[in-house]
């Protein structure tokens, strides 16, 4: 959703320290509320995909534009917003070249050399794990609060 991405325009406050968890939480929660508000409750898969896109978008914005993978993620999201494609995720074949498999997994990995790819992978893993932690926390508190 465009609103998800348009809201976050501020640069990364900590370029040297890397993405901040607070920023990530802030962005993701906002996007999450937006999705909840705008999608009908009936279409769960649709909402689920939107939430996933919101997660990637908030991750990419928090990481900042200095990272190749974050730029690729945002590029992909903006393009897909028009074409209504599914959230991107590629399966890798370990049988083939591992470097290629990694390139497919990491957004924007196709156009960089191996060294940069490793660096981007490290940053991507960091952000991904932060995002997963956040989402897990939200789910846990939401489910614990429930019945």
């Amino acid at each position: 959703m465009d609103s998800k991405s348009s809201a976050c325009s501020s640069p990364n406050p900590n370029p040297t320290l890397g993405p901040s968890k607070l920023m990530l939480a802030f962005r993701f929660l906002r996007a999450l509320s937006l999705v909840r508000r705008t999608t009908p409750a009936s279409s769960r898969t649709c909402r689920g995909r939107r939430i996933e896109r919101a997660a990637y978008a908030s991750m990419a914005y928090t990481a900042g534009a200095s990272r190749a993978w974050s730029r690729a993620v945002l590029r992909r999201l903006h393009h897909r917003a028009r074409r209504r494609a599914v959230a991107p995720r590629r399966l890798s074949t370990t049988a083939g070249n591992r470097a290629e498999a990694l390139r497919r997994l990491v957004p924007g990995g196709g156009g960089m050399d191996y060294c940069t790819l490793l660096e981007e992978t490290a940053d991507y893993i960091k952000c991904l794990s932060m995002q997963v932690e956040l989402m897990q926390g939200i789910v846990d508190s939401a489910s614990s609060y429930g019945p």
Partner: protein
């Protein structure tokens, strides 16, 4: 130019900045190649003292300049002197310069980042790339100094060759500091400097650079034994060998030992390409050896070096390394002048290709180690292939988790709708741009405080639980309490659209928000905030 900008940007963003003094830049800088100085390499240089000492020795010995002066003029004079010496001798200036460049380069490379401080002054700032225009060189020495741009490249290349922790490019660039040259040569960390230097010079033509390097190193006059000492890293052995040879050659120049010099010069010619670009490594070598032409690198070399591949540099480094070894054998221990050289590892191939590859391999292994720490359970795994498999599996699992959790969040909907909207003050965020970090907990606290409905409790708990690990709960709770006591919002407000909420925010929360967002007051929140990756 692009490359310069690129490098400059990269380095500045890396967070390591050269001391401002370096950038204060003086007119004297024109004598010295500027490129190396401008690099801000985030990786720390291991041996600052060494570098400085090397530099000072380098500068002071030939020029009798007071080592203490952190003036780049000393180096310029030094270069000028070399040029003068070169002119007086029959030896082809190009070869001489090359060796000088190489040796100087290596010295520079190894110097710790501190050196950059003084040296940078004379250099252009913001230049990530190595080569500086040759025109900087003072009039009479313009010919020989045409190599300067290459010098920078070479320096950069050298650092690459060293391939070590890139010690700090700054270090390499700092080599120019005249005051520190004398000690620098004795420093034990030539590697670091070289490594960083080489990387820097990638994008530039190296030819002129290495000439200067040789010249410099010669000026520094670090003895061969010192060189060995300096080139402790296996990788740098070849480079340091070369540098040693260069240094000795340079010394010969300064001593007007033409005989010695000639031999050395020839060798230097070969070695000069230390940092030269890959475009024509072998060609350079022969070219240097045979050419009696002026030192300044021919334009073609510089042009060719554009690709800034480390590999090309290593090629050239490799050849000089061979010579270095021979040189060392022939020459008696050098005078106490110090210079740092890059050496290839003992017993390993020293041609440019392998050196560049070695640097690349080191970079890759460094990153793999970092990844190993990130990916859980990778400590026991050995071997790149298995590690890569683990990394791929981990990334896949993370992505799957994100997908799964998002589906789950989609189904968890009803409990959080209202409070979610209240959580984020969109208007506040957008209007203020980036909020200072310490503010966030206060903001969230205030937002949460508004939701008096039962859902807000869940939201607060969610937020606190998810942020618990990283943030001090005290700050969050305190801010929550503060905001709760301060504000009261009707439930109607919560159901309104975000814009209304924003308006509500501004009306009622103005004071709170301002204190929160305005500046990072030394609020307790800020102090408690710990944001970790």
């Amino acid at each position: 130019m692009e490359k310069e900008g690129f490098w400059g940007l990269q380095w500045q963003s890396s967070g390591a900045k050269l001391p401002p003094e370096l950038n204060s830049g003086s007119a004297a800088s024109d004598q010295l190649p500027q490129c190396f100085l401008n690099l801000n390499w985030k990786q720390p240089m291991a041996h600052d003292a060494d570098f400085e000492s090397a530099l000072s020795s380098l500068v002071s010995s030939p020029c009798s300049n007071p080592p203490a002066s952190a003036d780049g003029n000393g180096i310029g004079e030094l270069i000028g002197r070399l040029g003068g010496i070169c002119n007086s001798n029959d030896i082809s200036p190009s070869s001489r310069y090359r060796s000088a460049d190489a040796s100087c380069y290596s010295t520079l490379l190894n110097s710790p980042p501190k050196l950059n401080l003084s040296v940078m002054d004379h250099r252009q700032q913001g230049r990530g790339g190595p080569p500086m225009p040759v025109n900087r060189v003072p009039g009479p020495h313009i010919g020989p100094f045409s190599a300067e741009p290459g010098f920078e490249d070479g320096a950069a290349r050298l650092s690459c060759f060293a391939g070590r922790s890139s010690g700090s490019f700054a270090g390499q660039f700092g080599f120019l500091e005249p005051g520190n040259l004398s000690q620098a040569s004795r420093s034990q960390s030539p590697k670091g400097g070289f490594g960083s230097c080489v990387g820097v010079g990638q994008s530039r033509s190296e030819r002129p650079a290495h000439l200067e390097m040789e010249m410099r190193s010669k000026i520094g006059g670090s003895s061969t034994p010192e060189a060995t000492e300096l080139g402790n890293g296996p990788e740098e052995s070849s480079l340091s060998d070369r540098m040693t040879a260069d240094a000795s050659t340079l010394r010969a120049i300064t001593d007007n030992n033409s005989g010695k010099w000639k031999t050395a010069a020839k060798r230097k010619g070969r070695e000069a390409p230390l940092s030269s670009s890959a475009t024509n490594p072998p060609a350079n070598m022969t070219e240097e050896e045979n050419s009696d032409a002026k030192r300044c690198k021919p334009a073609d070399r510089n042009g060719g070096a554009k690709n800034a591949a480390v590999k090309p540099k290593t090629e050239q480094n490799g050849d000089p390394a061979h010579r270095e070894g021979k040189d060392n054998d022939h020459k008696p221990p050098e005078s106490p002048k110090d210079y740092i050289h890059v050496r290839a590892r003992r017993g390993q191939a020293t041609d440019a290709h392998s050196l560049a590859e070695r640097v690349r391999r080191e970079k890759i292994s460094k990153r793999m180690k970092f990844l190993q720490d990130l990916v859980p359970g990778c400590n026991k795994v050995t071997g790149k292939a298995v590690m890569l498999d683990e990394i791929i599996n981990y990334v896949q699992s993370l992505q799957r988790q994100v997908e799964f959790l998002s589906m789950k969040l989609a189904t968890l909907n009803p409990q959080m709708d209202v409070s979610m909207e209240n959580l984020l003050p969109k208007d506040m965020y957008q209007s203020r741009g980036l909020m200072p970090q310490p503010v966030y907990p206060a903001e969230i606290g205030t937002v949460l405080s508004y939701a008096h409905q039962p859902q807000t409790v869940a939201l607060q708990s969610i937020v606190t639980s998810s942020l618990e690990a990283q943030f001090s709960l005290n700050s969050l709770q305190s801010s929550l309490q503060q905001s709760q006591s301060m504000q009261h919002a009707t439930t109607d407000a919560y159901t309104d659209a975000p814009s209304q909420l924003g308006g509500l925010w501004e009306d009622d929360l103005q004071s709170v928000a301002q204190t929160g967002f305005g500046q990072n007051h030394g609020q307790t929140h800020a102090s408690h905030m710990k944001i970790e990756l």
